[in-house]
């Protein structure tokens, strides 16, 4: 019980001072029939060394040492070492929400800088201190548009991350928010004609992702124009934050819902990540989540406080903009440090490397399989269509300690044998060449066996 700072004598003395004889007296308020009279059925106390061993063993069973081409909303970028050094400081790690501003200026100022950098990168005017992740940020952004427009229905791009769409559906079900889905065209982007047909006078907003789930960059300007023409808002989800270094942000959007995991947050098997909502100043009172504002103290010294708290659950209760309370503060700090490290020039150079690797990889794959939507500008993901089932291809790649692209059959059966591949600055040319070689090999064997089949039939 190494975390408990009391000796048996301390406990005795404390009980005595309270006027109790035993610890059981403390639990007298709990009806006796419910009190647990046995040990919980969980393993005995483990030494620190045993705990470390346990998790090292789990680590070995968890893809340690594999080269991966997976993206799809979770990206592998290099994390500068100082992120861990700084977030491990107890003053950041073990502090609560900065409600007591006088002794929370560290957290508050860092959030203020975070909000500023998110605004700079997204082209928006205000940003909140974080949401759970990109999927819930998108759902909350849509609900914000519903409140702002007084309309209820939502048009969602099918090129939005499928799991984000599922989350939105969950949130929307009981809010009386009908959803309709706008398909993508042959260019891998939202089909604008179909989109416009889906928008009605009841449409609160159009929700798209850019770069979208396939990595292609949507024409946010054209979509904004269509939405605005019908009095609807445009909400844009950005799942790959590094794209902001080289891809123009959707400045025409009314709300941007981001996943900032790419900025220095470990993949961590899917979480914790860092959602953010950014929007126009005039919409700030309908924005959910915490906000930090600048002010002065009694001596006129600059300081920071949580502000516009009346939007939040602890004050407005059932009329709050959202029920969100705990957010992702420490993860937002990782994002903050990452943005500070790369800054104005580094982010662009980093994004450029991602683009270069992806362009090279897509070019190599195109020699052996079909790269879909290849005429449309993209960032760091692309869809490869093969003759063979991508699960089979990936099975072969696994043997070489490689994880191939994400098979899309589950989400987009109409694309057939397609997989979503991702390259970042960490993907080496050697890895790309090896993966392309393995895919090419399997494609050749599938084709030749098909030729044999054909030959047999003709014979």
């Amino acid at each position: 019980m190494r975390y408990l700072p009391k000796s048996p004598a301390d406990r005795e003395a404390m009980l005595k001072s309270i006027g109790l004889r035993s610890v059981d007296d403390l639990f007298a308020p709990i009806p006796a029939e419910y009190r647990l009279t046995r040990d919980l059925d969980i393993p005995r106390q483990m030494a620190e060394s045993e705990i470390v061993d346990f998790f090292r063993q789990r680590s070995r069973e968890n893809g340690d040492g594999y080269t991966s081409f997976l993206g799809a909303g979770a990206y592998s970028h290099y994390r500068p070492v100082i992120i861990e050094s700084l977030i491990s400081r107890g003053e950041f790690l073990t502090a609560y929400t900065p409600y007591q501003a006088e002794i929370s200026q560290g957290t508050l100022q860092s959030i203020f800088e975070f909000q500023t950098m998110i605004c700079e990168l997204t082209g928006m005017e205000v940003a909140n201190a974080s949401m759970y992740d990109g999927s819930t940020a998108a759902a909350e952004a849509v609900m914000m548009a519903v409140r702002l427009t007084g309309r209820r229905s939502v048009v969602v791009a099918r090129s939005l991350h499928p799991e984000y769409r599922e989350v939105l559906a969950t949130y929307a079900t009981h809010q009386g928010m009908p959803l309709s889905t706008a398909n993508f065209g042959d260019d891998g982007r939202v089909n604008l004609k179909e989109l416009e047909k889906l928008i009605t006078p009841e449409t609160a907003c159009v929700l798209i992702q850019s770069p979208n789930f396939f990595g292609t960059i949507e024409d946010a300007g054209a979509i904004a124009e269509i939405a605005h023409k019908h009095g609807a808002m445009l909400v844009v989800s950005i799942a790959e934050a590094v794209s902001l270094g080289i891809v123009e942000p959707p400045r025409q959007a009314d709300v941007i819902a981001m996943e900032a995991q790419s900025f220095g947050v470990p993949l961590g098997f899917g979480g914790p990540y860092c959602g953010v909502i950014a929007t126009r100043e005039k919409y700030v009172r309908q924005m959910p989540g915490r906000l930090v504002g600048q002010t002065v103290d009694k001596q006129g010294k600059r300081g920071f406080v949580l502000t516009l708290a009346t939007r939040e659950q602890h004050i407005r209760r059932e009329k709050a903009t959202s029920n969100i309370c705990t957010n992702q503060a420490l993860v937002a700090l990782m994002v903050n440090i990452f943005m500070t490290v790369y800054g104005k020039v580094g982010l662009r150079e980093l994004a450029k490397q991602n683009l270069a690797k992806t362009t090279y990889a897509a070019g190599q794959f195109a020699k052996h399989g079909k790269v879909l939507f290849s005429a449309t500008p993209r960032f760091n993901e692309f869809v490869v269509q093969t003759s063979e089932d991508p699960y089979a291809i990936n099975g072969r790649l696994l043997g070489h300690k490689m994880v191939g692209g994400l098979p899309l059959k589950k989400f987009y059966p109409e694309l057939g044998n397609a997989a979503l591949w991702c390259c970042t600055e960490l993907t080496t040319r050697t890895a790309i060449d090896t993966a392309v070689g393995l895919v090419a090999e399997s494609e050749r064997s599938v084709r030749s066996s098909k030729e044999e089949d054909v030959a047999e039939v003709t014979r």
């Binding site: 009172r285 708290a309 009346t310 004050i315 407005r316 009329k319």
Partner: protein, 129 residues
């Protein structure tokens, strides 16, 4: 605090001043005092319909939100735009800082409201609790 006798009051601490069929609505000095520093006033848009006794907007201080209740029914003809940028005016002069003007639907609703003297008595009683 002497409450102006040229208007009527609600138990929710709004006042309404009537001129023909136009009603001008705000909150009382007592209300602004108990709210503290007002940071935001949310008013309905011109054309919105108010129903007597129902909420039509909110006033916010740093750590509290209070609904505004309509003293009478009617449609909004004008909104005090100054309050959007200077909500502190309500603290400075509550009885001079109107929030919305409405065209009254049914002037008989006003009979149910309190006079200045009755309102003052009501506030004193409330404080006694």
């Amino acid at each position: 605090m002497a409450y102006p006798t040229d208007r009527k009051y609600t138990k929710e601490h709004e006042w309404i001043q009537v001129n023909g069929t136009t009603g001008t609505i705000g909150i009382t000095d007592h209300a602004q005092q108990s709210l503290g520093d007002i940071v935001f006033v949310e008013t309905p848009k011109v054309g919105a319909e108010l129903t007597a006794g129902k909420p039509f907007g909110t006033v916010e201080s740093v750590k509290a939100v209070s609904d505004l209740f309509a003293p009478a029914s009617g449609s909004v003809t004008e909104v005090n735009a100054d309050l959007a940028t200077s909500p502190e005016n309500v603290n400075k002069d509550a009885h001079g800082s109107w929030m919305v003007k409405i065209t009254l639907k049914n002037t008989s609703e006003l009979d149910r409201l309190l006079s200045a003297a009755d309102y003052e008595k009501f506030v004193a009683e409330e404080a006694g609790h």
